[in-house]
């Protein structure tokens, strides 16, 4: 439980902390310290085990499918980092208490800080690589929020975004790397991975895994060429920068390299990639740091440089170098955290961080100055301080690299050079800030010492620097050993922690660096002039520009492709269908199956020709819309005849009625539209469309031909056999519709109902001005309701109702049914609307069409649900024959009720749709109150 609790505690704290925000900064700071204190207390008892190379493991299963488990591991390495995270975290909390202004969102700050701490602890304590990745990306996200804490500042937002893009993106690469490792090993558990080190290194995918993992590590640890995000993360409040740059965030990448050191290191690839990256980073960071006028900028670049140093050490592939690296991790954390805090104090007290303004602070804040100077000396590698020790080891290691020929001189050269720069910028930090004359235009003048407790964290850290520097073996020796033991898988080399190892080459290098650095600083103006010749690149702006460019290109590309043109989308759809079907159809060719062609009679041929002519005519004359409509009617009519010709009376009837209603509908719409379609597409476009159309048509022809001439067996014989005995009707089509596949019909009438409702809703608030006359310039006639039509419409209604009843009743046994009957009723009523107008007709219709639709659906459902009461499934039909005197024998079937539902739905939906359209007309002033809708 211990380990998971250690990780969990900060998150719990993050939830709890904001609750104390009201109680003031002190309260919340205390509340925020609690998790870390508890965690430290919980880790302490395990020290003894760990010091001897023991490992504490804890595993909970989580997602075995992906190999992700909640497993944690505490060994020397993770302990080292955990302690850094916890202790420096505590100091940061205390420091932030004084740093933040009372009006700032303290609750959010501490919550995020604790989240971040938790995520970092998660990284170092995870024993499952995927779990580690989870925390890894979490730090990216939380750091994004922390860096942009002052989100009203543009630089903060940009810095945060850049950090997120780089570290988050690196995390994605790391994800891929880890997945490859997991695939090689078959597990993501650290123990398994460590055990499979040789397997991994010899695997074909090793270079990929290595590159991807290193991408993750380098982005996080701000290695060249990904280092640029780090200085801009300075936009965060100083406690955040101090934390991110010393003990956490950037150290995550280092930790990763240490953690996977036994697995990945030791190969040439590792050596070249890691050491050269480290080397370049070391130099660049050190070089740039010297020229930064911003206090935090200097520190940030020095961080980059030191991270490069650590990376270089890891890259050296020697065990001793790894130890040195770990040692430097500790040292860097302590002096860098204290330096950042000092810088924060200076910023806090003077209102600026520009070293051209801040001068001679020694007089105003000697205490802070002392602390900062000690820490800076440590950074420079001055003896008796911890920085000196690890740097010495670094120099020693740089000499021991076995590079061929002249290359052997490179590492020591680089190391020394970097040392010189380090001394130079450290000297600048000390001299510029605390001496070098008087302050220039300070926003806050005179500056004075910060609150007492704000200095305590700095004091503690500086004390640590000194202690480690003077008594390394006692103070840090065991911890370092434990960490090295864990990192190197138990193969800790002989090393000796002492203030001095005698007068040797490394010491000489140190001296060289020290005096070279001082010299460089004294001659700084020359370097500044030299540096000023190069235009300084603002990485943020570049990044922003690249991002913007990307977005613009993306937007332009999107707009080009997704241009809002239906013609293009439709073309793509149809072309896709044609293309996918083309290959099989092409294989088939003009295929005539075993049934062959049957002879054709002249009337059918004539009808076919008429249909083809009308269809082509519709397309050819589509510009004259009314003409196209008339031709469309012909097509519909001949299609209906075709159905009749080939034994489908039901279809013929349905097609006919639907066709007429459709035409009426189209004409209702056409009233408000131009009666003529202009030519808008260029002829190549039309040619293209024509080609697509012809290919589609040809394809359909071939398919149909092949299909029709092939023998065929279907399940239909069942329907024919069971229609009468099982469904109680002799019209098999109708029985299929209301019984065998009644559910389809239920869906179908639902569609109809929804369409009508949707049409009604859509037209509810539509205002359309009809044209004053037709397209030829004739004004509309004033005679809306011709007398003869009116007179003939009157008797038509009862007659049509009778016919529709007739067709309805016969439907189960003869062609007909609820749908056709419904359409006849609807059309008869539509005739009333046409003949006498909306107002007149609505006055005579005592119900709302909505309710008719609802009633229809309800009937259908009730008819279907009736069978449930008898334990039969939905839509099971029942029928029986009743004999009444006089009337004779007749059939009663539950399917009739269902069909009645169809009838009502059709009536309601058709009328609702048509009448909604008709009501758009300004002439249809509705006087009716009860009527219609």
């Amino acid at each position: 439980m211990t380990l998971s609790l250690v990780v969990l505690l900060p998150f719990l704290g993050a939830i709890a902390a904001p609750l104390f925000a009201q109680a003031g900064r002190t309260a919340i700071a205390i509340a925020s310290s609690v998790p870390a204190l508890i965690a430290l207390a919980m880790l302490f008892p395990h020290w003894a085990t760990l010091a001897e190379g023991g490992v504490l493991l804890e595993t909970h299963s989580w997602l075995p499918a992906v190999g992700l488990s909640l497993s944690f591991r505490l060994d020397g390495l993770s302990l080292l980092f955990a302690l850094l995270i916890l202790i420096i975290g505590l100091l940061i909390i205390l420091y932030a208490r004084y740093y933040l202004k009372p009006y700032e969102n303290v609750g959010k700050f501490y919550a995020l800080l604790l989240c971040f701490k938790g995520a970092m602890l998660g990284i170092v304590l995870s024993s499952n690589l995927l779990l580690m990745l989870v925390f890894w990306e979490l730090t990216s996200v939380v750091s994004f929020l922390l860096i942009s804490f002052w989100n009203h500042k543009q630089d903060a937002r940009r810095g945060a975004r850049m950090a997120l893009a780089v570290t988050g993106g690196g995390g994605l690469a790391l994800l891929a790397g880890i997945l490859i490792i997991g695939r090689i090993v078959g597990s993501y558990e650290l123990d398994d991975v460590l055990a499979a080190a040789d397997l991994i290194k010899s695997h074909a995918l090793y270079p990929f895994a290595l590159t991807l993992v290193l991408l993750g590590a380098f982005t996080k640890s701000a290695q060249f060429p990904f280092h640029f995000w780090l200085p801009h993360a300075m936009q965060a409040p100083t406690p955040v920068s101090a934390y991110l740059h010393s003990a956490t965030m950037v150290k995550a990448g280092i930790f990763l390299m240490a953690r996977l050191y036994p697995v990945l290191a030791g190969t040439d690839q590792w050596f070249y990639m890691v050491s050269f990256t480290g080397m370049v980073t070391l130099l660049i960071g050190a070089y740039v740091a010297l020229f930064k006028h911003d206090l935090k900028g200097l520190l940030a670049h020095s961080t980059v440089s030191h991270l490069g140093l650590i990376t270089l050490l890891f890259g050296m592939n020697t065990q001793l170098a790894a130890v040195a690296a770990l040692f430097h991790v500790i040292n860097h954390a302590t002096f860098k955290a204290s330096l950042f805090m000092a810088a924060g104090i200076i910023d806090h007290e003077t209102g600026t961080r520009d070293m051209r303004q801040i001068n001679g602070l020694w007089r105003f804040m000697p205490h802070t100055a002392t602390l900062a100077m000690v820490a800076a000396s440590s950074m420079a590698g001055v003896p008796l301080l911890n920085g000196f020790l690890s740097k010495e080891m670094f120099f020693a290691e740089s000499l021991s690299l076995n590079l061929p020929g002249i290359w052997a001189y490179l590492p020591p050269l680089v190391a020394t050079l970097a040392g010189i720069f380090a001394v130079a910028y450290s000297a600048r930090f000390i001299h510029d800030v605390f001496f070098n004359g008087k302050p220039v235009d300070l926003p806050i003048y005179p500056p004075h010492e910060p609150p007492r407790y704000m200095k305590i964290p700095v004091e503690i850290l500086v004390f640590a620097c000194v202690m480690v520097g003077m008594f390394p073996a006692v103070s840090i020796g065991p911890l370092l050993h434990a960490a090295a033991f864990a990192t190197l898988d138990g193969q800790v080399p002989e090393y000796h922690l002492a203030i001095l190892h005698g007068f040797n080459l490394p010491l000489l290098m140190s001296f060289l660096a020290f005096f070279g650095g001082l010299l460089m600083y004294s001659q700084r103006q020359r370097f500044f002039d030299f540096h000023a010749r190069f235009r300084e690149i603002d990485e943020k702006a570049v990044f922003e520009k690249v991002a913007m460019w990307l977005e613009d290109r993306a937007a332009a590309f999107t707009n080009r492709i997704e241009n809002g043109s239906l013609q293009r989308y439709a073309m793509l759809l149809i072309a896709s269908a044609v293309v996918v079907a083309l290959a099989p159809i092409g294989d088939m060719g003009l295929f005539i199956g075993s049934h062959g062609l049957s002879p054709i009679d002249w009337p059918s041929l004539t009808a076919a020709v008429l249909l083809i002519i009308s269809a082509l005519g519709t397309a050819a004359y589509h510009r004259d819309r009314f003409f196209a409509l008339v031709l469309l009617s012909v097509v519909g009519l001949v299609v209906a005849l075709t159905f009749a010709r080939f034994s489908a009376p039901d279809l013929a009837m349905t097609q006919l009625s639907v066709e007429v209603v459709t035409i009426v509908l189209l004409m209702l719409a056409l009233y408000y539209m131009p009666s003529w379609t202009p030519i808008e597409t260029s002829w190549p476009r039309r040619l293209r469309d024509l080609t697509i159309a012809l290919v589609a048509g040809a394809g359909m022809t071939l398919i149909t031909l092949a299909m029709l001439t092939q023998p065929f067996e279907s399940i239909s014989s069942f329907f024919i056999a069971n229609s009468k005995p099982g469904g109680g009707g002799t019209n098999v089509v109708n029985v299929i519709l209301v019984d065998f596949r009644g559910f389809d019909t239920l869906g179908e009438i639902t569609v109809l109902a929804i369409a009508a409702l949707g049409i009604y809703a859509m037209l509810k608030n539509t205002a359309l001005t009809p044209p004053p006359g037709d397209g030829l310039g004739h004004p509309w006639t004033r005679d809306a309701h011709p007398m003869m039509l009116k007179q003939i419409a009157r008797p038509m209604l009862p007659l049509a109702l009778m016919i529709s009843l007739y067709i309805f009743l016969r439907g189960h046994n003869m062609p007909g049914g609820g749908f056709i009957a419904g359409l006849i009723t609807a059309v008869a009523l539509v005739l009333q609307y046409i003949a006498s107008g909306v107002g007149w007709t609505e006055d005579r219709i005592p119900f709302r069409y909505h309710n008719v639709i609802g009633l229809g659906l309800l009937f259908a459902v009730i008819a279907g649900a009736g069978s449930l009461a008898f334990g039969y499934p939905f839509l099971t039909s029942a029928f029986g024959y009743i004999t009444w005197p006089v009337v004779g024998k007749f059939e009663i079937a539950s399917a009739m009720v269902f069909d009645l539902g169809v009838y009502f739905t059709v009536v309601g939906a058709t009328l609702l749709a048509l009448v909604s359209l008709g009501k758009l007309s300004p002439h249809s002033a509705i006087k009716s109150s009860k009527g219609g809708m």
């Binding site: 499918a65 994605l172 994800l175 299909m707 069942f718």
Partner: protein, 505 residues
């Protein structure tokens, strides 16, 4: 025969019918009844999930006609999963709609419920033609829903949507016709049994039919050359509708999974794994297009709309691997993306309401009232959508990445998926930081504060990202079992032999 199977269809149908009748009743009554229907539906789908989790197939034969003659509903794990996913999404969307969207038209609730009915039929049906009918039900309702809301901006996108889908319906019918003309049956299980036995001369017809079916489903799912209708349609729909529509593309996805594992799956003889290669390639292209679109999005709604396309690409790429693991991963991802995208649509709507004339455009605007809450919701949604840990999107992507085997496919999938995540990360971070942080002084005059239902709705959906993580174990076990069930098609064929005819009481 378990009558519970028709509950997800009958409940919204009856609820919808009631809404048709009470269109003029007080709005509170309509809201209460409508929401009650959705809640009831939710409950019933959970019951079905429990039922389906034993791994057997349950068949409901309409009209007491045995398959392949009658229409059957088939409940398996996949169907139950889709039902529950939809019901949860629908519940929150509906809750959100109660806030104000439903005032725009008296038909809103009816359309909404009918839409659910269509979706549920599509997920449950075991009949190819009935699938067509289900598609039409859900499409026509979606047309109606899409047009809800004031203003004229959604007319043209809706028109495009409608015309394309009508064309798609025609293609669907042609495909069904081709398949029927060769096999002589419509029942999916029967089709699966007959497809391998189709004679060589009939094969081209069947193949063309199958591939055209893929195009149809691809249109619904919004695969690359057929996806362009989506951003504008979704981007202009009212929020709860857009949120509900997050499931619309999943219908296409579902249909592809169902039809192309069962009927044209590995057991389909000469047509085994029909179209799978195409699917994978086009899915990756879709994903790329989605990322590009998201990167270039100028407003949040469009951004989320492209996110829909990204998820489609991701889903189908995983399915296109043609493996059990891939499908399982896709299902997991589907849960995540459906809810999250739905939630994001809602959140974005809340954001837009508080930014005055800037609405959801990614520009400087006055500070929002409820900035903290909204930004947290957006953050959660974005993190889950990008696929960053610790939220559900990460695990989903992890599963997908893991489901590949080394080779060209893996290289493609990994690089596109991971690269896509990176660029969406950029898009979201930029959008979020501008919308929330780059503010000008002064408040928007509107006092559009958050009401409880909308907050719960948006928050609820977005926080599914966390729920999924907490339940990751059970969920992944379930989707694994689902994929296993899917790939064991011979089991499904047993549907034909199950005793489904009731004897009555």
């Amino acid at each position: 025969m378990n009558h519970l199977l028709i509950a997800p269809i009958l409940i919204p149908l009856l609820g919808g019918i009631i809404q048709v009748f009470i269109g003029y009743a007080p709005i509170s009554l309509r809201r209460t009844l409508a929401l009650a229907t959705t809640v009831l539906l939710l409950a019933s789908t959970f019951a079905l999930l429990v039922l389906a989790n034993d791994g057997s197939y349950r068949v409901y034969a309409f009209g007491n006609w045995a398959p392949p003659f009658g229409i059957v509903l088939v409940l398996d794990r996949l169907a139950a999963l889709m039902l529950v996913m939809t019901a949860i999404l629908a519940f929150f969307s509906h809750l959100y709609a109660i806030h104000r969207t439903d005032e725009s038209s008296r038909q809103f609730h009816a359309l909404f419920l009918f839409q659910l009915m269509g979706l549920n039929i599509a997920f449950l049906t075991g009949d190819l033609f009935n699938l067509f009918v289900a598609f039409e039900v859900l499409l026509i309702a979606s047309y109606g829903l899409l047009m809800q809301g004031p203003g004229t901006k959604r007319t043209v996108p809706s028109l495009h949507y409608v015309v394309l889908n009508l064309t798609g319906s025609a293609l669907f019918l042609i495909s069904v016709g081709m398949i029927y003309s060769v096999t002589g049956t419509l029942n999916m299980a029967d089709l699966a049994a007959k497809v391998p036995q189709v004679s060589a001369e009939n094969l081209p017809l069947l193949q063309a039919g199958g591939l055209m079916l893929l195009v149809v489903f691809g249109l619904k799912a919004a695969i690359l050359p057929l996806c362009f209708w989506l951003p504008r349609a979704y981007g202009n729909a009212t929020a709860p509708v857009a949120a509900l529509f997050a499931v619309m593309t999943k219908v296409g996805f579902y249909a592809i999974v169902r039809v192309f594992t069962l009927i044209f799956g590995s057991g389909a003889g000469a047509l085994a794994n029909l179209g799978l290669d195409w699917l994978f390639a086009f899915a990756l292209a879709t994903l790329t297009m989605g990322v590009i679109g998201a990167l270039g999005a100028r407003n949040l709604r469009t951004l989320i709309a492209w996110q829909v396309i990204i998820s489609v690409g991701t889903l189908l790429a995983a399915v296109g691997l043609g493996t059990e693991e891939g499908t399982s991963a896709a299902l997991f991802y589907m849960l995540n993306t459906t809810w999250i995208v739905g939630g994001l649509f809602l959140v974005v709507d809340l954001i837009a309401a508080q930014r005055g004339s800037a609405v959801d455009r990614i520009v400087t605007a006055p500070r929002m009232h409820n900035r903290t809450l909204l930004s947290v919701l957006f953050l959660i949604g974005a993190v889950a959508a990008i696929g960053l840990p610790p939220l559900s999107g990460f695990f989903a992507k992890l599963l997908i990445l893991q489901s590949t085997t080394p080779g060209a496919e893996m290289a493609w999938l990994w690089s596109v998926l991971i690269g896509g995540s990176f660029f969406t990360l950029i898009a979201y971070s930029r959008a979020g930081s501008i919308v929330f942080w780059r503010t000008v002084d002064g408040h928007v005059s509107s006092t559009d504060r958050l009401s409880l239902p909308v907050t719960v709705a948006a928050g609820g959906l977005v926080s599914m990202a966390i729920v999924i993580v907490l339940l990751a174990g059970p969920i992944s076990a379930y989707v694994d079992a689902t994929a296993a069930q899917l790939f064991n098609t011979s089991e499904y064929l047993n549907v034909l032999n199950l005793p489904v005819i009731a004897e009555g009481l």
